[in-house]
Symmetry: none
DNA sequence: TTCATAGTTTGATCATAGCCGAATTATCGC
DNA sequence: GCGATAATTCGGCTATGATCAAACTATGAA
């Protein structure tokens, strides 16, 4: 007779440094090959194979075979949320690791984190909105202020529809490359949708890296920073 | 040069079965002594001491010395969220552990979670109230609807007094034996008080298990499900 | 076919860390 | 003061699992 979820199994998988590095590398949403992940984790291919097999069979990663390559990716949003939650704990407690997350500059600049915008641009937007009183912290949770509601209303964001569900309107998500907060939740998702819909940004093939055109980036920055 | 939060450190702490059992036992919100946790984890006191020292020094647990006892508790909401996220992943992937949190059936059926009712009956009540529009999710937080206010008003719950303090009126609390939400917050506490005051239920010596009489359970179910 | 690259399997090594028994320190009740 | 109980420290045993080198399989390219 078995009862209760076995969190130890899941946590111990993430709790091994090599595997944690792999998972963090995949947190960009990009699918990576076994060799890429071996490099990220700092282990040899055989070792990586073993780790990846465990992660896949436990349901933390998914795999897609393509020719002689095998591309791995985070299995689902629940895994992403668990990793984000662990990041938050580690960050609060001041535990730092030696190796950074996404190395490549383009990816640091703009990428999506599941369904919302992450990377430097997202962090900048978050900072700007905090500074101008659109967002604020209230008892540990992120809140959209009255001013923020006016602000978004004037920009055509239907936030009423976004806060109907169980998922929070605003959540902060710790960005591991910038080590600062950015906006998640349904509002964060909506903003990424909008940027794509307006043609400012395009998702790459892998669906998770987001590239802004030069003009799109200017428009986006203007969009979120224009007063009133 | 160090970058990025070390999630492997945090995850590996939770990833050890004995420690995971301790953390799960503390997820009720109740502070437990070292000996209690040793029993929960199925290890001897010396082993428990070692684990607890690691958990405390990593910032996952807090400790309160009281006489010759040391009471441990989850250090903060971020830790709780991380554990809940891991529960969600483990539950989705179908990983079950052999040892349940609350071992005996009576305790799964009805017990108190710190100061509010937990277990199957609480989960049923929560589901019923969600389905009938007494409670709803709004931007990630639990809300008592207008209908819910009428409903409770008609049942003699003075919810105005309950929402005056710093503590929220409604909170959801994840039940690890049922893996579903139940009602916490001052309203959850009040309902347990009421059930005890009306003689429907009695707290056991250890304060954690709550036993309903057969008649009390019927009355309680009728109380929360009667329309109007 | 032949070579090269991606990835896996095998087998052996080795370090980490979980575990307990016994002895030790601290606090309560008497 | 003296026992009793809570908790810790110490020392040594043991098992788990991370690691890599080398050999092997599979796919793609020439």
């Amino acid at each position: 007779m078995k009862y209760g979820p076995d969190i130890a199994l899941v946590a111990s998988l993430i709790g091994e440094p090599a595997r944690a590095n792999m998972v963090l590398a995949l947190m960009s949403g990009q699918a990576l090959s076994a060799a890429d992940l071996a490099r990220e984790a700092g282990v040899t291919p055989p070792t990586a194979t073993g780790h990846l097999a465990k992660l896949v069979s436990a349901g933390l990663l998914g795999v897609r075979k393509q020719g002689r390559h095998r591309y791995f990716e985070i299995a689902g949003p629940d895994v992403g949320q668990a990793v984000e939650a662990l990041i938050a704990v580690a960050a609060r407690a001041g535990h730092l690791r030696t190796r950074p997350g996404p190395k490549d500059e383009a990816m640091r600049h703009a990428r999506s984190c599941y369904d919302h915008l992450a990377g430097r641009m997202a962090v900048d937007m978050f900072g700007h909105w905090m500074a101008s009183g659109i967002l604020c912290w209230r008892s540990g949770a992120l809140h959209l202020t009255r001013k923020g509601r006016d602000f978004l209303g004037g920009r055509g964001i239907a936030f009423e529809a976004l806060e109907s569900g169980k998922r929070p309107l605003c959540r902060s998500c710790m960005d591991w490359s910038e080590r600062r907060h950015h906006l998640a939740g349904t509002l964060g998702a909506e903003i990424l949708e909008m940027a794509v819909a307006k043609g400012w940004a395009a998702r790459e093939r892998n669906m998770r890296t987001v590239s802004f055109s030069k003009r799109g980036e200017e428009n986006f920055v203007r969009w979120y920073s224009r007063p009133g």
